[in-house]
C-alpha cells in the first residue's frame, strides 16, 4: 500500500507543479464545449444574398419584402440589392455572395396573366449546407405570392424557382477534403519546427547551438524551413490520396495544381510561424501535447472546414476572421470546387502571407537566445 501511494503521490505532485498543464486541463473542456457546440448545427445567419429585381411591379416588390422580412427576423440572409445581373452572379463566383436572386422584368405580368412566372436563383453549391438553406428559404418567401395573389387554376400558375447550381455537384466526402488537408498541415506543423526546439530544450541539447554564432533568425527560420519541407510533402501526399479516393475532377490541370501548392505552402508557413510564437519558450513536450488539442479546437472547428462559418455566433465568426485555417479552407474550396485561379483567392493568399510575416517576426523577437 505504501508503495502504491508513493507512486500516486509522485505523479500528483509532478502534475501539480506544472501550472500550464493544470490550467489547460481545466480550460480545455470549457473551450471544447464553447467552440464545438457553436461550430456544429448552429443556425445559419447573415448569408450574403444578392438580389437583382428588374421588375417594379407589386408582386416583385412583395418577393423582395418577404426576403427582407427573413433578413430582419431570423437574420438568415444579409440582402444586397444590385442592379446588374452579371455583377451579382460574378459576386457568387468569387465568394462575395452565397447566392444571387434574379427577378426578371416580366415577373409581374406573368403572375397576373398566369403566364408561369419565374425567379432565378444562382447558388454557390460548393457550400452545400448554405445553398440548401437559401433554396428552402427563398421557396418559402415566394410561396405566399402563389397562395395570395395567384389563383390556383392550373399547375402552370405557380411561381417557378429556377435554381442554378453554379458549380459541379460536391458530395459530402469531397467537401471534407480541404479539412483533411488542413488537419494534415496542422499536425505536420505541430510535430516539426518549434516542436524540435522544445525537444532539444527538454533533452538539454539546445545549448549545443545556442553556444554557436547562429543568430535568432538562423535558428527560427532554419527550423521553420525544415518543418515546411516535411509538412508540405505530407500534406501533398494526403491531398493526392484524398483526391483519388473522392474523385474530385481536375479540369485546369497544372494551373490548379500550382494554386493548390501555393495554398499548402503558405498555410504550412503560417501555422509553423504561429507554433513557433506559441511554443518558442516551452521546455516540456507534455505542454505541447495539451496545447495541441487546444489549438486544434480553436483553429480547426471555426475554420468552416466542417460546417459553414455563417452558422457560428458573432464572437466565433469574428475569430474566424483572424483564423488562418479559415482562409486556407476558403482558398482550397475555391480552387478545388470552383476552379478559381490565383486572382480569385488573392485575398486569402494575402492574409496568409501577412499572418506568416507577422508571426515569424514576432517569433524571432520573442525567441530567447539565452537559457
Amino acid at each position: 500500500m505504501i508503495r502504491l501511494l508513493a507512486v500516486v503521490e509522485r505523479d500528483l505532485k509532478k502534475f501539480r507543479r506544472n501550472p500550464v498543464v493544470l490550467g489547460m486541463s481545466i480550460l480545455m473542456p470549457i473551450i471544447y464545449l464553447l467552440i464545438l457546440g457553436n461550430s456544429f448545427q448552429g443556425k445559419l445567419t447573415s448569408l450574403p444574398v444578392a438580389v437583382v429585381s428588374h421588375d417594379t411591379g407589386p408582386f416583385a416588390k412583395r418577393v423582395v419584402e418577404n426576403l427582407k422580412a427573413i433578413a430582419a427576423g431570423p437574420q438568415t440572409f444579409r440582402l444586397v440589392i444590385l442592379q446588374d445581373v452579371n455583377k451579382a452572379v460574378e459576386g457568387v463566383r468569387n465568394g462575395r455572395y452565397k447566392a444571387a436572386l434574379i427577378i426578371p422584368e416580366d415577373f409581374d405580368t406573368r403572375v397576373t396573366l398566369n403566364g408561369r412566372p419565374e425567379i432565378g436563383l444562382f447558388l454557390d453549391n460548393t457550400d452545400g449546407i448554405s445553398a440548401e438553406t437559401i433554396r428552402n428559404l427563398v421557396s418559402a418567401a415566394i410561396g405566399p405570392i402563389h397562395d395570395e395573389y395567384v389563383p390556383i387554376r392550373e399547375k402552370t400558375n405557380e411561381v417557378l424557382l429556377r435554381d442554378v447550381n453554379l458549380y459541379p455537384k460536391v458530395d459530402y466526402y469531397q467537401s471534407l477534403v480541404p479539412g483533411v488537408v488542413i488537419m494534415a498541415i496542422f499536425l505536420g506543423t505541430l510535430t516539426t519546427g518549434a516542436f524540435n526546439l522544445v525537444m532539444d530544450r527538454f533533452m538539454g541539447i539546445d545549448e549545443s547551438y545556442l553556444l554557436t554564432p547562429l543568430s535568432k533568425s538562423h535558428i527560427v527560420a532554419g527550423l521553420i524551413i525544415s518543418g515546411l519541407s516535411i509538412t508540405t510533402v505530407i500534406a501533398t501526399l494526403i491531398f493526392t490520396v484524398s483526391i483519388l479516393i473522392t474523385g474530385i475532377p481536375f479540369s485546369r490541370g497544372v494551373h490548379q495544381c500550382f494554386s493548390l501548392f501555393v495554398i499548402i505552402v503558405l498555410t504550412t508557413l503560417c501555422l509553423l510561424s504561429l507554433m513557433f510564437l506559441i511554443l518558442g519558450r516551452v521546455g516540456h513536450p507534455r505542454i505541447v501535447g495539451i496545447l495541441s488539442g487546444f489549438l486544434n479546437v480553436i483553429l480547426f472547428f471555426p475554420s468552416g472546414a466542417v460546417y459553414p462559418v455563417a452558422s457560428f455566433p458573432g464572437w466565433l465568426r469574428s475569430f474566424a476572421k483572424i483564423n488562418p485555417e479559415a482562409y486556407a479552407v476558403e482558398a482550397l474550396k475555391s480552387v478545388l470546387f470552383k476552379n478559381a485561379g490565383l486572382a480569385t483567392i488573392s485575398g486569402d493568399i494575402a492574409f496568409l502571407a501577412l499572418f506568416t510575416a507577422v508571426m515569424m517576426t514576432l517569433s524571432i523577437i520573442t525567441f530567447k537566445r539565452t537559457l
Binding site: 545549448e207 549545443s208 553556444l211 539565452t370 537559457l371
Partner: protein
C-alpha cells in the same frame, strides 16, 4: 600613454572578469567574482557542485546575462557583443549535448557549418579530430550507440572544429568511469601541448584540477576563496602532509592532545577518523600514534599523503569537497540554474 598601455595589457588577457554577480530570485549563485586568465593558460575553477561554477561559465559563454558586473572574453564584452564572443570560443557544457539521432561525423559536420567552415576544410578538420580522439572507426555510427566516455570525447572534438581561441569545459569528466576520465585527461593534456589555446575548466575533482591546471581558483558559495597555481595554493596552508588516523573511539581529548604536538598544524575530527595536517608525515607518524595511545585512544589504521587541493579547500572552508558532494541530491539536473528560473 598609460591608458594605451593598459588597453594593450587587457588585450593580452583571454578572460577579464570584474565583480560579476548572478542572482536567481533570492539566491546569489555567483557573488561579485573577479579574475583574469592569460592567453594560452590552462585555468581551472575548483569547487563543489552548487558553488556557482556552471553559472559562471554560462555567463562567460553568453548563455546567461549577469545581474551585475562585466566580463570580457577574447576582447569582447559578453553582454554587449555576444555573437563575436561565440565566434571565438568553444564550449563543452556539463550535460552531453551531441545529437543522439546523428552520427559522430554528422554531429561534427553540422557544428562546423554553424561556424561557416567550408566543406574541404571541414572534412579535413573532422577527420583529424576524430582520429585524435580515437573515434575514426565509429565515425559513422549513431551517437545513440556510444558509451558516455566516447560521447564526451566526441563533444570535446566537436568544439575544436572551428579552432576556438578559448575552450570552456564544464565538468568534462563528470559521470565518467576512472578509465574514461583518464582518457579525457590525456586528450586534454595533448591540447595543452599542441595549440596555444586558452582552456578554462571547471571541476569538482581536485586531482583533475591539480593534474591539468596551471592556475586554479577555488570557489565556494559563489565566491572565490583562493587563487593561484596548485603549488602556490598548497604552500599557503601550513604543513606539507596529511595523516588520517582511524581511531576506535575518537574524542575531543584525543584531538586536543594531538594539537599540542610541535609538528601538528591542524586537527579535524571526522566520523571515526582524525585528519591531521603535519610537517614530514612519514617521520612523525610514530610520535602521533604514541600521543593518541597516551590520550587513551586506539589507532586502527593510518595513512599519510601529501597536501592536496582538497586540503586547501578544507583549510579555507572548514569542510571537504567530498562532504559537500554528499549533501547534493543530483548534479545532473538544472546544473547552473535552478529549475524554476530558467527552463
Amino acid at each position: 600613454m598609460p591608458g594605451q598601455q593598459q588597453s594593450t595589457m587587457q588585450e593580452q588577457k583571454a578572460i577579464t572578469v570584474s565583480e560579476i554577480t548572478k542572482k536567481f530570485g533570492n539566491i546569489t549563485a555567483v557573488d561579485s567574482v573577479s579574475f583574469e586568465v592569460e592567453r594560452g593558460e590552462f585555468f581551472g575553477f575548483l569547487g563543489p557542485n552548487g558553488a556557482g561554477k556552471t553559472t559562471l561559465i554560462r555567463m562567460l559563454t553568453t548563455l546567461l546575462r549577469p545581474t551585475s558586473g562585466h566580463a570580457v572574453v577574447s576582447c569582447c564584452d559578453v553582454v554587449k557583443d555576444p555573437t563575436e564572443v561565440r565566434k571565438h570560443i568553444g564550449v563543452v557544457p556539463q550535460a552531453m549535448t551531441s545529437d543522439l539521432d546523428l552520427t559522430a561525423y554528422e554531429n561534427m559536420d553540422i557544428y562546423g557549418r554553424f561556424y561557416g567552415i567550408h566543406a574541404k576544410e571541414r572534412k579535413e578538420r573532422i577527420e583529424y579530430l576524430l582520429d585524435m580522439v580515437g573515434l575514426t572507426a565509429r565515425a559513422n555510427d549513431l551517437v545513440a550507440t556510444y558509451s558516455g566516455g566516447m560521447r564526451r570525447r566526441l563533444e570535446i572534438a566537436r568544439v575544436l572544429v572551428h579552432r576556438p581561441e578559448l575552450l570552456f569545459l564544464d565538468e568534462p569528466t563528470i559521470g565518467l568511469d576512472p578509465q574514461s576520465r583518464r582518457v579525457v585527461w590525456s586528450f586534454l593534456e595533448k591540447l595543452i601541448g599542441g595549440d596555444s589555446m586558452t582552456i578554462f575548466l571547471t571541476t569538482h575533482y581536485m586531482e583533475e584540477a591539480e593534474a591539468l591546471c596551471k592556475r586554479v581558483a577555488i570557489i565556494d558559495t559563489g565566491k572565490i576563496i583562493a587563487l593561484g597555481s596548485p603549488a602556490e595554493l598548497k604552500s599557503q596552508i601550513p604543513g606539507n602532509d596529511v595523516i588520517t588516523l582511524a581511531v576506535e573511539h575518537p574524542s575531543e581529548e584525543i584531538a586536543a592532545a594531538i594539537e599540542t604536538l610541535p609538528f601538528v598544524h591542524k586537527v579535524k575530527s571526522e566520523e571515526g577518523s582524525v585528519r591531521v595536517s603535519v610537517d614530514s608525515g612519514a617521520k612523525n607518524l610514530p610520535s602521533l600514534i604514541d600521543e593518541v595511545r597516551s590520550a587513551g585512544g586506539k589507532v586502527l589504521s593510518a595513512t599519510v599523503h601529501e597536501q592536496s587541493l582538497e586540503d586547501v579547500f578544507i583549510y579555507y572552508t572548514g569542510k571537504s569537497i567530498r562532504e559537500e558532494e554528499a549533501k547534493k541530491v543530483s548534479f545532473f539536473v538544472g546544473a547552473g540554474i535552478p529549475q524554476k528560473f530558467g527552463r
